[in-house]
Symmetry: C2
Subunit: 345 residues, 2 copies
């Protein structure tokens, strides 16, 4: 059945029922909910003193292609990129509102798969889907807003005490990343150019591109251990580090030989592996800074690999890339930016 | 200059600067803000126990046409329809996050005009624009999320005590509306079909269509005086009343001769005036229910006309339209619904 046969209100009822079925009364977000889908606004009791909000658009043929992205994975990913922003604040995601714009001839089954992907991720992180809207459009546009809260601290010394910001880097801080880089953009290339790799590499790169896992637990752990600055890697390491440098009004030196490239990327993309890791984007790993002691402590207890890749230096917001010998390294491509000529997703 | 020449980050900087310039430290939303535009998420101190969130998409050639909507008015209206949802909850709007998707060849001046329209409205209602995202797209898509809070009450007797909901109607309640209906859709027809009316009617109908004014003060007043149920009229009186009836599991009888049609609509649209008022939509007036005593009290102090148009009756979620003599009235068109065949904006 097409969404044009079901109609807007039929579709809303169907999606509201899916969100309702997914509720879990053990989860604080659901316990505190007063009004969910089906009124002019959603409403909930707030127990936190610091609220967080983030939003991302996910547009067909700009951010994603249905040729390589199944609907369920699309739903997962569209929500994951928002949860990743909450992770980069060290926050706890709580509520999501979903705006869907769909062509009239979209299959209802596709929309429920999309929603199923979102619900699976939402359930893993205790997020309640509490509202949104639907409308028709020439192409699919998914716009998700996620509300969250900062973890409460008994007596924060400053208002920035309980969140990670882009402006929190200090000169001398080490720069570190979670997990491995480059696998998401390698997965995109593999799917788009129909490249053939061995089964394990194929599965891993596909997963990295279609199923990013937001580093929520890690963001909170960093905050607990004294990290002040973090960003999630969406546009590419080099591009996202620039945001930290600009906000903190400091420079950075990255040792490109330290950048953790996944073995599957290195094995299958040879000389381009480092470029994918530095500029590919969409890895949704966390990039963060802190003293050597703080990062050493985190390394010992983090649930994922933590790799130091450089340090915060100087007073200019300038990023220098060097190799292990200290020789300058030139990056062929700078990372994702919208509206820039010649760029295609 | 086109947005493609400025680039995504240049555009974000420009819009962030506009939002920053518009800040007003006298306004609670700005006072409580910790992180605005330019980080992974926005963050603020919350003093309210009940949070509200609403979202609406505004898509070119689906919800609006640039042929009849100047950019600044587009910005005003895109935000106004969201504030109207907060008004329909009796809430206080506080923060907005703006997602803009734009074609590459959009003029930067158009985008700043759009933002200017939003900022003007935001300033009138003490709303802080604290984040969003920008991306390219084949057509303009504006997605706005507004966060708000319910007014604090010293000791609410129930969790629904401090918000207006669609499910709050009671049998015997009178049904009332704010202002006049039909003018927005009359304005749309006038602009689309290039109809010629006298200068005063032209100005008024244009204003009604392009510049809806969210009934924030009225929503809060209704709540203060014991109203429990409200919705804003976006899809059309008949269609939106249906939401109240369904949520409240009650029916409604509307006396169509009581529906307040603006004189400019009546004078220029003759026999179609009532149809525009009942099904035209986009008036963003509030439709609410309450006892005769409550509505009489509100009538005396409301800053706008309040008109009783019917009452909540029966147990079925059925709406009956009658004229002054009690004869049934048949509505030619049911109100706006997306995905429905043959519908165009």
């Amino acid at each position: 059945m097409k969404v044009s046969e079901l109609g807007e209100f039929g579709l809303i009822d169907l999606l509201a029922e899916m969100a309702y079925q997914a509720q879990d009364k053990e989860i604080p977000a659901w316990q505190q909910l007063i009004i969910g889908i089906g009124d002019d606004a959603a409403a909930w009791h707030s127990k936190s003193l610091t609220q967080l909000v983030t939003v991302d658009s996910f547009i067909q043929d700009v951010h994603f292609s249905l040729d390589i992205t199944p609907w369920k994975e699309l739903g997962w990913k569209a929500l994951a990129i928002n949860l990743s922003d909450i992770a980069a604040m060290g926050g706890v995601p709580q509520y999501a509102v979903i705006s869907l714009a769909l062509p009239n001839d979209t299959e209802v089954d596709s929309v429920t798969s999309l929603y199923q992907g979102m619900i699976e991720l939402a359930q893993q992180f205790g997020v309640a889907i509490v509202g949104g809207d639907t409308s028709r459009a020439p192409q699919v546009v998914i716009n998700i807003t996620v509300l969250g809260s900062a973890r409460s601290q008994s007596s924060p010394r400053s208002q920035y005490e309980n969140i990670l910001t882009r402006s929190g880097a200090r000169a001398g801080d080490k720069i570190a990343v979670t997990g491995y880089l480059g696998a998401a953009s390698a997965g995109w290339e593999m799917l788009t150019r129909k490249l053939q790799f061995d089964a394990e590499a194929t599965a891993h790169l596909k997963q990295a591109f279609l199923h990013p896992y937001p580093r929520i637990a890690e963001g909170q752990l960093f905050l607990d251990h004294g990290v002040k600055a973090a960003i999630d890697i969406s546009d590419g390491l080099a591009s996202d580090l620039k945001h930290i440098c600009q906000s903190s009004q400091l420079g950075a030196r990255i040792d490109v030989d330290c950048v953790p490239i996944h073995p599957d990327v290195r094995a299958n993309f040879g000389g381009r592996a480092l470029e994918l890791a530095l500029s590919g984007g969409e890895d949704y790993e966390l990039l963060f800074t802190g003293s050597a002691e703080i990062i050493d402590r985190i390394k010992m207890i983090a649930p994922c690999p933590i790799t130091v890749i450089g340090e915060i230096v100087g007073k200019e917001s300038k990023i220098t890339l060097v190799d292990h010998q200290g020789n300058p390294f030139k990056l062929p491509r700078q990372g994702w930016e919208h509206f820039t000529k010649g760029q295609t997703s």
